[in-house]
Amino acid sequence: MYSAGTESLIKQAREIQDEELQKFYVRVSKMLSSKEHCSETIDSLQRLKLIVSATKYARLLPAEVQNKLQTLLRSPGCPEQLRLLCSAVLSESLPPSVRSLSAGLTQDCRSLGSVAAIVLAQAGNKDELLPLCQHLLKCLESRQPEGQICKHTLPILSKIISFFPEILSEDQINLVNRKLVDWLRYASVHQGASLSSGGFFTGPRSRQPGPMTEVDGVVVGDFFTVLCVGQSYTEDQWMNMYAFSMLRKWLLTYDSEGTYDRSEVDSSVMSMVSATSSSSRLLPPKERLREKSFEYCQRLIEQSDRKAIKRTDTELQKVCLIEAVAVMDIICKEDSSYVYRAFPCLKALYGRLSGDLAFARALMPIAQFYLNHSEMAAVDSEAVFRHLLSRFPSEMFNEPLLAFEFVQFCRLNMAVLQERVPLYRQSFPNIFKFLAWNSPALIADYMELLPSLMCRETAVEILHTLLDLPCLAATLDLQQKSATFQAADRVLWDNGTKLANCLEAFRQPSCRGLFLYILRPEAGTGDTIDRLNMLHEMLADMSESPRVIQCAQIVPVLLHVFFNHVAQVTTTYSGLANERQSLHPSLLIDQSRELLDFAGSVSNISSKKELYTSVVWMIGEYLSVSYDKRCTVELITSFFESLEAVLLEITQVRQSTKPPNYHPRVLTVLMTTLSKLASRSQDLIPRLSLSLSKMRTFAQSAPVASCYSEEDIEEIITRASELVNLLKLPNVAQFVLAPSPHGDNPRWHKDTNTSLPHSMRAVSGLLHKNSSFLPG
């Protein structure tokens, strides 16, 4: 297929020397000038095309050559082959021909197509496309006699608007809307005249043309569509076909909510009117197009029920079904009154197609339609999704295009499926079958999809399924081969004993259960099975099959996504939990016994450092009647005594004292918490002051000095002295050490009374630096 000869020709074209190239240009220029164009001209142009397209960097054509190519391209009698060659050379080379070609646009349809190809390829912005666009619209607008409309008008226009939808004014959009209605709905139902040699659109008819037929041979009884056949076609029938071909794109661009909707009429009035087709003549062009498009789609759906004579027409029927349902979906999104007209038709269509897997791909847009509109229309959609989620993955996992469409459907509708279709999450074992079969192509999509399948009920089972994904790949492979290979000997010949062993195991009734578990369509029968290792043994011989290896390579990626998602969810929950704690300090009262035990146990200081410190801080902060009315003096006293005992024990100064094995922060938090509690039950103040007064001695003792830094020791001493000073002013202490729960509100700073605690805090902070109140 691709030979060394071809490679060497490409190399020659890329490496042609400049001198030789210039000589070649001169020869080409001469050939183009002559009136007669022979096969030598064709050959030379073909060679020139290769030269200009073979390099990454564009070649610069001499002006003379470029001009001659443009002239030839535009001359009316130019044969198609020459035109295409000129167009190809000009598109691939520089300088760009856009402006010069756009300046001289003519009515000649054949050259217009080639000119358009160059303009579209080389245009850099909207302005460069404008002349071409305006020219096409002018042709559409003027009443042309038959044979004058460039047959590629609609494809060119469609391509232009796919880059610059804003290029058309509202009037121009309406003009096109009107023309589309004419072509879609009012094309002739008689055949075109018999063709003379060459050319599309012929002159006067030589005989009376017969009627068009449907794909099954029956004479057409309704308006013309792409599913009507005849010997030859009239111009408006060709335009009917081109119009339907670009209809979806047109509606998406100009009929979609928010984008370029410039309807001046009140849309609510219009939706009432549009529900009845008899009054459609009164509708503005956009709404009229919607109506006629809807009728066209309905007709296509009905025409698809006929038994086509030709196989290509059967294929076209499926294609038309997909397009018709998609267009109806767009129309219904714009105007929900169409939903009630659409559903009877689509329900019937679903009924017709659901039994036949050959129509599986046509069912995808139907499922999308149900997802979008069934709720609004109060239509039950369960059967449709059950069919989709349970049958397709099980029976068609190896159809690459269906797999792709199914996975895109899930990905694009994840949010809605999670919310409204419980069967979606439950069907994850089935959904993974597409991935197991074709990992490289689908892994990126499944990375997005996986979180949407995870919930509390499914998470563990999903984890097991991910780990067993290669087993699933192997089993699916065996399933396929088992269906294909009837005779064991054939398998041996083709694939060796390894596969034969696995196949035999697959066919054993005793192992059926294992394989059925792996192939299960729905979750819920158990996270995993006991005899998994047996399954692994049976499939061991397939572990080197490429499909299994490719699948195994993507499992770590998915596990990563899995655990990331779990971590995210957990963080969200625990973040919420912390918030809850701070908003529900009543938990302290509810759990007081447990907290007392915990806080009173000295061993917890070293074994649960952070937690201990946090708990002690929490006690100081929230154990107060202002947070929970159940907080009694007795409770405060109990906590105080418990913590005081801890403080005393860890700050004993004896000869056998070991250096402290906890962070100095534990000490400061303990001291502060005790002070807070004491400020709420003032009998406790004298006791605490005594304890705190011993802190200096403790802090300056040898074991402590040997293990804490000077700053830490200083901090302990100053904190103790600050607290002692504060406790000498009990009422002040009460405010400073326990401001009201709403003290963070800026309002509290402006009010003289409520700003006191904050001022005191600031003052005390200043005071302690200069304090000489430290006893002893």
Binding site: M1, Y2, S3, A4, G5, T6, L9, I10, Q46, K56, Y57, A58, P79, E80, Q81, L84, L85, S87, A88, E92, L94, P95, A117, L120, A121, Q122, A123, G124, L154, P155, I156, K159, S162, F163, S197, F200, V226, S232, Y233, M241, Y242, F244, S245, D313, L316, I322, E323, A326, P400, L401, F404, Q408, P440, A441, A444, D445, N495, S545, P546, Q550
Partner: protein, 204 residues
Amino acid sequence: MVHSFLIHTLGPVSALSANESRVLFARAFGPEESAQRGAEPEPEPELVPETRRLLQKERLAVVARRVRSVVALGRAASGVPAVECVLGEEAAALGEADVGVLRLTSGEPFAVERTVLWLAVQSLAFCLVCDMHENLLLAEGTLRNIGRRCLEELRLLGPGSEVILKSDRIDALLNHYLPHGQLLFLNHRFTHCLDRELSSYGNK
């Protein structure tokens, strides 16, 4: 609509490194889309035509490489031995051909998201780069049709170099069956009329 049509190699090419693919034919039907389409234009710095063309070529080369890789993996997984058909056996070659589709996310390599549909016949692939939400069944049919005609008219199963020397035939095919990237709903009669038009191509 279709953004571009490519024919590229799937097998090893002596002048290129192992994973690269030689693009034998490429036709992009329109300009490259700016990523900011739709937003109120902050005019993006306009690229000169030279740069635009270069970018287009490089992007298509990236697509070819990705398709090559995915086809190789798919063939390895299916384990079906490669069949070598010769001239005259086009129908058989097409029967054995693999078809597949890949999503090209935004930036990889085009500014907007697209899909690439490929048809792999022995050591060559035919690709259609389509916009998102295209009628894939129609695209598949169109691709098979164009692929078949290319195989036949350019004698691709043989050792010749028509694919690069007579590439105007491919342009003619595209002009009729995929004008400016528009996929067409053609029943057998419309196709027949287009075939008849094409049959006179190249005859003066």
